[in-house]
């Protein structure tokens, strides 16, 4: 037995929104494999909840909100796993310790490769409070204006602008501590 007739509407929804949803997920998780898995999960949720969509917001806003929430949940789960792995390593069970500090930290004077710089930036963004992380991440995705970010986050436009401003300030602080050492 196949899926219900709303499949054709759903196809339109997926094709219209998949690029932005995948980019939202990618900006949060920063790897292609997890992005694909996460983005698929977003649309599965959209499909299952389409009947309950109450049209209190635009469909687009609703979909992007699911994408942001799923991405944040994914990051929280990842942090918990990391914490657990760190505890395991303290006890000495896991001998395969991975270095978490890029080579640049050993010699801050040397010119950094773009990949290492990107890695540093991603880690710094990951240390921001969730609201700031969300605001600044969405603001850097093509086609996302602050007004749309405000709708997705359910806050005012001025609140989004304040979050982005604070996020940039905090990023500057985090990077300063990193490069100064």
């Amino acid at each position: 037995m196949g899926l219900p007739d709303r499949t054709s509407d759903f196809k339109y929804i997926v094709e219209t929104h998949q690029e932005k949803v995948r980019n939202i997920c990618f900006r949060f998780v920063n790897n292609h494999e997890d992005t694909d898995d996460l983005a698929q999960e977003v649309f599965v949720q959209v499909y299952e909840s389409l009947g309950h969509f109450r049209k209190e917001s635009e469909l687009t806003t609703w979909i992007y909100r699911i994408a942001v929430n799923e991405s944040l949940d994914f990051l929280r789960r990842k942090k918990r796993k990391k914490r657990f792995a760190y505890l395991i390593s303290l006890v000495g069970i896991d001998e395969n310790k991975q270095g978490t500090v890029p080579a640049a930290a050993e010699n801050p004077q040397r010119e950094l490769e773009n990949n290492e710089r990107k890695e540093i930036l991603i880690r710094a963004i990951g240390k921001l409070p969730e609201a700031q992380q969300t605001a600044i991440t969405l603001s850097k995705i093509e086609g996302f204006r602050n007004k749309e970010i405000a709708s997705v986050m359910g806050i005012s436009l001025s609140a989004v602008e304040a979050l982005i401003h604070r996020a940039k300030k905090n990023l500057h602080k985090l990077l300063y501590h990193y490069f100064r050492e």
């Binding site: 899926l3 499949t7 196809k11 997926v14 094709e15 998949q18 690029e19 995948r22 980019n23 990618f26 900006r27 992005t35 694909d36 983005a39 698929q40 999960e41 649309f43 599965v44 499909y47 801050p108 004077q109 950094l112 773009n114 710089r117 990107k118 540093i120 930036l121 710094a124 600044i136 850097k140 995705i141 093509e142 940039k168 990023l171 500057h172 990077l175 300063y176 490069f179 100064r180």
Partner: protein
């Protein structure tokens, strides 16, 4: 360039990357993968009740049978008690006994 200026330069170079992060292009096979995943979810959901339903029905029948058996056993006891009580009342009337004297017929 002093150390502070050098540090600031590194910070700015790093922050500039924010505006040049990778953007994913549209993926034309993405919809196919989403539908495959939905099919998987549906199959997983239909296997689960196929196993649970017979087990649930069996449990329901057993519980109902148990309740019915207990009920009828209880009714039997109640009927016996009612007959005894009736007999006591009849005997009390025949012998003109007071209510407090009717307990003479109570078998312990």
């Amino acid at each position: 360039m002093n150390k502070k200026e050098k540090t600031e330069q590194e910070i700015q170079k790093t922050l500039e990357l924010l505006d040049h992060m990778e953007q994913l292009p549209p993926d034309h096979s993405f919809y196919t993968r989403v539908m495959a995943r939905l099919d998987e979810e549906r199959q997983r959901q239909s296997v689960f009740p196929a196993i649970l339903k017979p087990a649930f029905l069996t449990a329901l029948i057993v519980i109902n049978l148990g309740t019915a058996i207990r009920h009828f056993r209880g009714s039997e006891a109640t009927r016996q008690t009612d007959s005894q009580q009736e007999l006591i009342e009849v005997l009390s009337r025949d012998l003109n006994l007071e209510a407090y004297q009717s307990n003479l017929f109570t078998i312990e």
